[in-house]
């Protein structure tokens, strides 16, 4: 079974630039999550989708972060404009439904903002 795919694996950008990350969840997984993991910390949930609808985006900095899952399958997370403090690993995860049935993480995208 293919896992959660994320790209790119690494990204370096200058502050004030924009960047986008892509996630393709496990086939059939209705729920998709984006996490931010700052160095030395545990992952923090940014946004949760159920199919193509947003379930929880309470910790998403909406002034600069946006995410979409238009067809209820793959998803993109965008940052515009980026700040130095956005440097982190961005993890995507998916599950069969809300909860942890089959909850699986991708390998993440490491973003460095200089």
């Amino acid at each position: 079974e293919a896992g959660v795919a994320q790209s790119p694996r690494y990204k370096i950008i200058e502050k004030r630039q924009s960047v986008a990350f892509w996630c393709n969840p496990i086939s059939g997984h209705a729920t998709l999550y984006w996490y931010q993991q700052i160095l030395g910390q545990g992952p923090k949930l940014l946004i949760q989708f159920q199919n193509n609808g947003v379930v929880d985006d309470s910790q998403l900095p909406k002034d600069r972060f946006s995410a979409e899952r238009l067809k209820g399958v793959d998803s993109t997370l965008k940052i515009q404009p980026a700040k130095l403090e956005d440097s982190a690993v961005y993890l995507c995860a998916s599950s069969l439904g809300p909860g942890e049935h089959g909850y699986t993480f991708g390998s993440g995208t490491r973003l460095t903002v200089v």
Binding site: Q41, G42, L45, V89, L91, E100, Y103, F105
Partner: protein, 112 residues
């Protein structure tokens, strides 16, 4: 608010020995789940073990076991017969109401 605390930023263990990683959490919920995840340098979070709060029996998964003390809100992970491949960051996590909360992690070094 739900919080997860891992008080050991780093731990080390001799190969084949046993090590225990500590975790405490704070919650007002009665129904929740607890997890230990392993994160190697590849960055992927790998589930090690899970515990349902309503179960009194401690979860066990091969060389990994937990000591779940619900009243004390403590959830420690014991790794027996440590192997070189166990070296990684270990995160304790709590889930309730469809949200995961992670601790800050413990970096485990296995000494040959």
């Amino acid at each position: 608010a739900q919080t997860v605390t891992q008080s050991q930023p780093e731990m080390s263990v001799q190969e084949a020995e046993t090590v225990t990683l500590s975790c405490t959490y704070d919650t007002s919920e009665s129904d929740y789940y607890l997890f230990w995840y392993k994160q190697p340098p590849s960055r992927q979070m790998i589930l090690v073990i899970r515990q349902e709060a309503y179960k009194q029996q401690n979860a066990t998964e091969n060389r990994f076991s937990v000591n779940f003390q619900k009243a004390a809100k403590s959830f420690s992970l014991k790794i027996s017969d440590s192997q070189l491949g166990d070296a990684a960051m270990y995160f304790c996590a709590y889930r309730a109401l469809n949200q995961f909360y992670f601790g800050t992690g413990t970096s485990l070094t296995v000494i040959p």
